[in-house]
């Protein structure tokens, strides 16, 4: 089933700020097999010029789709999540994510289009601190296999 184009431009704020913890960064770094001390040790991070432990570049995937989950589950959008694969992903960083950050994430359905038999849906998420400082913008393109057939 084709996705509902009326959803292009709709915006979904995350329900609550995401609190970045040293423990979660350490867990994520371990999961990707990266032993860099800057992801674990506050002293190593400070020695490299950072205020606290740094998150790996792909860490924002942990929280950046929390608001858009509401859209994915909305039957009016018409997305069959069991047929979804990840098509593309991009991060633009204003600065790294640090332990101690409290981040707000607002997701917008920026594009829906058909490519062959598939439907492609792109979510743009703007991530800022609770004080409004820009941190990063993420672009997540999902492919619904067979959705346009």
């Amino acid at each position: 089933m084709a996705l509902n184009r009326d959803y292009i431009g709709r915006t979904y704020p995350a329900p609550a700020p995401y609190e970045v913890s040293r423990v979660k960064i350490r867990e994520f770094a371990a999961a990707i097999g990266d032993q860099n001390p800057i992801y674990r040790d506050p002293e190593a991070a400070r020695a490299a010029g950072h205020p606290d432990v740094v998150a790996p570049p792909t860490f924002p995937i942990v929280f950046s789709l929390s608001g858009a989950g509401e859209a994915f589950a909305d039957p009016e959008l018409g997305l069959d999540y069991s047929m979804v694969v990840h098509g593309m992903q991009r991060f633009e960083y204003a600065r790294p994510v640090y332990a101690g950050d409290e981040l707000l994430c607002t997701s917008t359905i920026s594009e829906i289009r058909s490519v062959g038999r598939n439907e492609m849906l792109t979510i743009k998420s703007d991530v800022t601190t609770v004080a409004g400082e820009p941190v990063c913008t993420t672009y997540n393109t999902l492919v619904e296999r067979g959705g346009a057939a």
């Binding site: 990707i32 490299a48 010029g49 992903q89 633009e92 790294p96």
Partner: protein, 142 residues
């Protein structure tokens, strides 16, 4: 927050040698837990095969993280990465055995920009497949 690589010493065409990153099932289980992506295609071969996949496949974001690690290890500081994007072009199939799978990542400096920025073009392969395409990282050098 500074790269250990000097902008003036890097030219377009500079090649960064390939690094192999092994992947076993346990890595995918750990990644599912850390990322919150519990899609069973990444840990349950019965489910993966039922939806037409050859076997369990790695999360695309796991592969992107390995190529990201390649970039941050080269740059010397994860804070030096200002833009990073990929397209997922093929699957990393991870069998339940001792060998598992291997993701091999290499890179080349494709462009030098103002502000000490360089654009890396990344190649990621697993077996015969190119698993990322249009993979680019923009890094601020010293």
């Amino acid at each position: 927050m500074t790269s250990t690589v000097k902008y003036d010493q890097i030219e377009v065409g500079h090649e960064i040698p390939a690094v192999d990153y092994p992947v076993h099932r346990v890595n995918l289980v750990m990644y599912a837990g850390a990322s919150g992506d519990f899609n069973p295609i990444h840990w349950n071969e019965r489910h993966a095969q039922a939806v037409g996949l050859p076997d369990v496949i790695a999360h695309g974001m796991f592969t992107m993280a390995q190529a990201g690690r390649f970039v941050t290890d080269w740059a010397g500081d994860p804070g030096a990465v200002v833009d990073y994007g990929v397209r997922f072009s093929s699957m990393v199939v991870v069998p339940d055995n001792e060998a598992g799978a291997v993701i091999s990542v290499s890179g080349v400096v494709e462009e030098k920009l103002d502000g000490n920025l360089v654009v890396l073009a990344l190649t990621a392969r697993s077996g015969d497949a190119r698993v990322l395409s249009r993979a680019r990282a923009t890094v601020r050098l010293a």
